[in-house]
């Protein structure tokens, strides 16, 4: 009731011209311009990507570009509505919106038709929408609301962690149930937000180490060193280096680090000499025994100097080696086509026919663009449909082929500026709600940007997620428009918060 009246009051206030003017004065126009640049470049790219030799008008709504223009028009309208709504509404209704979206996601699992194996599209007559895209802003609102609740700090209790993780993982599980793996993975990017709000950097570091171990272990299996695959050999060496560095970093005294380093160096030289004389010691035996001895030494040291922080190092080492072995175990138990898909993504295997076809063709499209591109509507790879999904997930190919290195750099730069701008907006928010929400927006964008462009240029596995603002499709465009314009609204009202 109380809120309702203040809402009424606000609406009255907004009716005065001064208030309206101040709202539009406080909007971050820089971001709005970036948004407009991106969607305009996007619609031009979609036009180019779907341009046929039997060409149609850009305004024809049967063409993807025509439809996208309609989507853009509607999203501008939507953006305007989102700006007009009071910024505090979002905070107030964050949980209801989130819950509503969870219900929608659940319903979608059961009512959505099967489209290419995924049940994520709700069809309304000629229009179909993907709730997973809209759940993004809802999850961001809920997470922001959680963090802004009174006296909430992430590190104060495990319950708080659990709450945050629940908010993130419920939509992930629901979207996975819709068989939209790519969209579900996007929510993992919210760990950036947790990190910003106090989660230990070690978690991100561990994730990074895990990815490196995974890639190295799987990528280099063809040659053997000391009777073990060169990938595993490299990982073992990296673990040793990591151990020495972490010991030096976490323990005030340098002796443990020095001793372990000397131990590793000495045994390494002996091992090298032995293998030079053809006295082969198996790599597993060598590494496990040498690292094992180092760990036992550290444990003694820990008891002696009471450096509990040594534990982190030892855990890291043990977990890394454990992870390495489990990766091998899991990978060797995978189906061949799954193995292949992963290997193609890591460009270990070149298979232009089957799993690698998409990436191969998209690399050809981008690579053939050269410095300045083939010219607008002159890209053969895209015009002749060599690149699959070229107006949606692979839209970046069209830019690469027709606008060349200049075009691709411009797009990368635009995204970089947008993301950095949003981080700036986040940090200038007076409220936790605003900051957390803004970081959520930045995180989603970082994930989509990295994965989409990464897969198109052959650096990431092919995960079917769109390039924000560029890819054809109303859901993605609207989803990101929601995210961005709610942020703009919250940002625009930060001053009024102060004054009120």
């Amino acid at each position: 009731m109380e809120f309702g009246s203040s809402y009424m009051l606000n609406r009255k206030q907004r009716c005065t011209p001064e208030e309206g003017e101040s709202l539009f004065r406080h909007i971050d126009w820089f971001t709005v311009i970036l948004y407009l640049l991106l969607v305009t470049a996007g619609v031009i790219s979609i036009y180019a990507a779907s341009y046929d030799f039997d060409n149609a008008s850009i305004f024809s709504f049967n063409e993807f570009s025509g439809k996208q223009i309609r989507w853009i028009g509607l999203s501008l309208l939507l953006g305007l509505v989102l700006l007009i709504i009071d910024g505090r509404m979002y905070e107030t209704y964050a949980y209801p919106i989130y819950l509503g979206m969870l219900v929608l996601l659940t319903v979608t699992i059961f009512v959505a038709p099967d489209i290419k194996g995924s049940r994520s599209w709700l069809v309304f007559g000629p229009m179909s929408l993907q709730p997973a895209e809209f759940a993004k802003f809802a999850t961001a609102l809920a997470l922001a609301k959680l963090f802004s609740s009174y006296n909430f700090t992430l590190n104060s209790s495990a319950r708080n962690y659990l709450k945050a993780l629940l908010i993130i993982f419920i939509p992930i599980i629901l979207i996975l149930a819709q068989k939209e793996t790519g969209s579900a993975l996007a929510y993992l990017s919210l760990f950036f937000v947790l990190y910003r709000e106090g989660m230990s950097g070690l978690v991100l570091f561990a994730a990074f180490v895990a990815v490196v171990i995974f890639v190295v272990a799987i990528k280099y299996t063809s040659t053997l060193i000391l009777g073990i695959p060169s990938g595993e050999f490299t990982v073992m060496c990296m673990v040793m280096i990591l151990m020495v560095v972490m010991l030096a970093f976490y323990v005030r005294r340098l002796e443990p680090a020095r001793n372990v380093l000397l131990w590793f160096a000495a045994t390494g030289i002996i091992e090298a000499i032995l293998s030079n004389w053809n006295l082969h010691v198996n790599g597993y035996v060598y590494f496990l025994s040498v690292i094992g001895v180092a760990i036992i030494y550290c444990l003694f040291e820990m008891l002696r100097i009471k450096a509990r922080r040594l534990m982190v190092t030892l855990l890291t080492v043990v977990l890394s080696i454990g992870f390495l072995f489990s990766v091998n175990l899991v990978f060797s138990n995978m189906m061949p086509h799954q193995q292949k898909r992963i290997k193609v993504a890591l460009s270990i295997e070149d298979d232009p026919r089957d799993a690698g076809y998409n990436v191969n063709q998209s690399k050809i499209a981008i690579g053939s663009g050269g410095a300045v591109g083939k010219g607008f509507l002159k890209g053969t790879q895209t015009k002749l449909k060599y690149v699959p999904e070229q107006h949606t997930d692979f839209i970046f190919c069209t830019i690469g082929e027709e606008e060349g290195f200049l075009g691709t750099c411009a797009v990368v730069l635009l995204f970089l500026i947008l993301i950095l701008r949003i981080i700036t907006l986040a940090e200038r928010q007076p409220t936790v709600f605003g900051r957390v929400y803004a970081y959520c927006v930045a995180s989603y964008l970082i994930f989509h940007f990295c994965i989409n462009i990464g897969m198109v240029i052959g650096l990431c596995p092919v995960i079917g997620i769109p390039l924000p603002f560029f890819s054809y499709g109303g859901s993605s465009l609207w989803g990101f428009t929601f995210l961005l314009f709610i942020l703009l609204r919250i940002d625009a009202s930060r001053r009024s918060r102060h004054t009120m």
Binding site: F53, F192, Y195, R196, E197, G198, G201, Q361, K363, I364, A365, I366, G367, S368, G369, G370, A371, T380, Q381, L384, K385, Y386, G400, E401, G404, F405, T408, C409, V412, L413, F415, L416, I419, L420, I423, A426, E427, P430, T431, V432, Y439, A442, I446, F449, C450, I453, G454, I457, G458, L459
Partner: protein, 618 residues
């Protein structure tokens, strides 16, 4: 609100992370787009299908503008292996009316070829019929990676002159190496004028650049064909052959081994050039070519061997006119010099036989009666005369040889056909080697005086001598191509060649040859309305029965045709050489055979001398 400045620093970690990713991506894009050139080629290979457009091969006409060789379209099924996806093989085979086994065999044959590449068009099936072409064209959209290449095959209006015309065949690896023009699967001329005039006939290949989408469908021409290159048709040729005369001469030579060459003396143009047994040029066209070609190669009568051009025969008595010319030129004899003949040339223990006629006789009657003794005595007088200008036999023989070479013997004449033979005229060194220096004399080698022994000549060379006599002292290098479209024929086929013998002596020889027809060995060639001149030849040979030869030209004044007939193992020159030669002359000059000579024609058409050749048919 509470602000944790330690945590705020983490914005740099997040911002730095995305900035590093952006830098990595820009580096990767730099590598793909700027550093690496191969992607441009990949994209072009994807999008552009470069199709060769074959020019129409030049037509071939005879001297009377009858079309002899023309083109028929043929369709080859091509495939680009890289672009072929799974398809309904059974339906494909049914469309082309081949069995799946045949299809597999063709695929493996294609893959084993040296020029195989999965990126370029490969020939799968050649020479599709128009019906199969139509059926396949309709279904082609179902078979990405396949397309139809239009090609040109030859069609022959007459079953004649296969040896002169030649044929076309698919190029071999060595052709491709030798000539940049050719690519695997192209056709080039083989044998005859198809080979020697290939560069004129083949034209210039064009190409068109088509745009092809990911499913292999053709979506149009690149830049609306602005970069296409139109093919340039090959040049038409006009032959000097009279295809009707050629056909007629071939029919006379049926069941005989040998050759007929007819030349227009004034121009050196070959009117007919028969090598017998011959074959139909239509055998070497299309899908059956390979099989037929192998059969012709294995044929014991060697039909692919052009006897008119490559056969090396002893000229026999047809050599005597050239002997007379040399004796006159060298002053060994004059027209009243007479030599005795007692049924032959008898000198010591040496004896060369002759037939019954008056004795002693001078040159013209000697030609008329083909007196062996006269030419033996003449030869002996030239070679063995120690007090003569030559000094010794070897020098005299070299002079003798020089005259013969100037008359066209001993070396290829330079006809515009491939693989011309050279015959053989020995020189003094040759005999020095066999008998030792100064250990030989005229008697040792007396048989060369009458065109036997080591002397060998091609029917073309013999015909050319006849043409030289007809011209009374000069000839133009014989040739079969009279005109090339938009081009002038080579100068050597337009310039007179003068032998080292004065023109005045040729009249006497011509007169002798005229006498041979009116009252000598060639009386069968004596036509009531045409003054024919001739000389028979009966050449002994180691292969069996004598070869029957004849040279003749007509009319006596302003001759229009000079003929050489050579029939292997057919006996006297008068039995086969003269009838065939005179019939060819009569047919050419009159266009028909007079009724009183029909029996002769009949006899020639139906006779068979191949049975004397000693060659067994398979």
């Amino acid at each position: 609100m509470r602000k944790d400045y330690n945590l705020e620093k983490r914005k740099y970690v997040i911002g730095g992370f995305i900035a590093i990713i952006a830098v990595i991506y820009v580096c990767r894009l730099f590598g793909l787009q700027i550093q690496d050139d191969k992607y441009k080629d990949y994209a072009d290979n994807n999008a552009f299908l470069r199709k060769t457009v074959y020019p129409s091969r030049g037509m071939i006409y005879d001297r009377n503008d009858s079309l002899v060789v023309y083109n028929q379209p043929a369709y080859d099924v091509m495939m680009i292996p890289r672009d072929v996806h799974d398809f309904d093989t059974i339906d494909f085979c049914r469309t082309l009316s081949i069995t799946p086994e045949e299809f597999d065999a063709r695929i493996s044959a294609m893959k084993n070829s040296a020029s195989y590449s999965s990126y370029t068009p490969q020939t799968l099936i050649t020479h599709l019929s128009a019906k199969d072409y139509g059926k396949l064209q309709e279904k082609l959209y179902r078979y990405p990676g396949f397309f139809i290449q239009k090609r040109i095959l030859r069609e022959y209006a007459y079953d004649a002159a296969a040896n002169v015309l030649g044929n076309i065949r698919e190029v071999s690896e060595s052709d491709i190496k030798r000539d940049d023009y050719y690519k695997a699967g192209d056709y080039c001329g083989d044998l005859g004028i198809e080979k020697s005039f290939d560069k004129f006939l083949r034209g210039i290949k064009g190409n068109e650049i088509l745009i092809r989408d990911a499913r292999g469908r053709i979506r149009g021409r690149f830049e609306d064909g602005a970069r296409d290159i139109a093919p340039v048709s090959g040049k038409d040729l006009k032959l000097s052959l009279d295809i009707k005369l050629q056909e007629y001469a071939e029919s006379l030579m049926v069941n005989k081994i040998g050759a007929v060459v007819a030349i227009e003396p004034a121009t050196g143009e070959i009117l007919a050039m028969v090598s017998s047994p011959t074959y139909s040029p239509k055998l070497l066209v299309g899908r059956e070519r390979g099989k037929n070609y192998r059969e012709l190669v294995n044929d014991h009568y060697k039909p692919l061997f052009d006897r008119a051009l490559m056969g090396a025969y002893p000229p026999g008595s047809t050599f005597k006119p050239s002997q007379g010319l040399i004796f006159l030129e060298e002053g060994i004899v004059n027209l009243s010099t007479a030599y005795p003949c007692y049924h032959g040339f008898i000198n010591g223990r040496l004896r060369v036989g002759c037939h019954g006629h008056g004795s002693p006789i001078p040159l013209k009657p000697a030609l008329q009666t083909s007196c062996n003794a006269y030419f033996c005595w003449g030869f002996k007088a030239m070679i063995d005369n120690k007090r003569s200008k030559y000094g010794n036999s070897a020098n005299a023989f070299e002079v003798w040889k020089k005259h013969l070479v100037s008359l066209g013997y001993g070396y290829p004449l330079g006809v515009d056909l491939p693989a011309e033979g050279r015959g053989f005229i020995p020189n003094a060194k040759f005999y020095n080697k066999i008998y030792g220096e100064n250990h030989w004399s005229a008697n040792t080698i007396i048989s060369v005086a009458i065109g036997q022994g080591e002397i060998l000549a091609t029917p073309l060379q013999i015909a050319n001598l006849c043409a030289t006599v007809a011209n009374r002292g000069w000839f133009i290098t014989p040739h079969v191509v009279k005109e090339i479209q938009d081009t002038v024929i080579d100068e050597q086929y337009r310039t007179q060649r003068h032998p080292t013998i004065s023109a005045e002596h040729f009249n006497d020889i011509a007169e002798g040859m005229r006498m041979a027809v009116t009252g000598g060995t060639c009386r069968l060639a004596n036509l009531p309305d045409i003054e024919v001149c001739g000389k028979t030849g009966t050449a002994q040979n180691p292969h069996g029965k004598d070869h029957s030869a004849f040279i003749g030209f007509a009319p006596y004044q302003n001759p229009r045709i000079a003929v050489c007939v050579y029939v292997e193992n057919a006996g006297f020159g008068a039995t086969y050489g003269v009838p065939i030669g005179s019939l060819v002359i009569e047919k050419y000059l009159k266009g028909y055979i007079s009724p009183e000579r029909k029996y002769l024609e009949e006899r020639m058409l139906n006779s068979n001398t191949i049975i004397y050749s000693g060659v067994k048919k398979h």
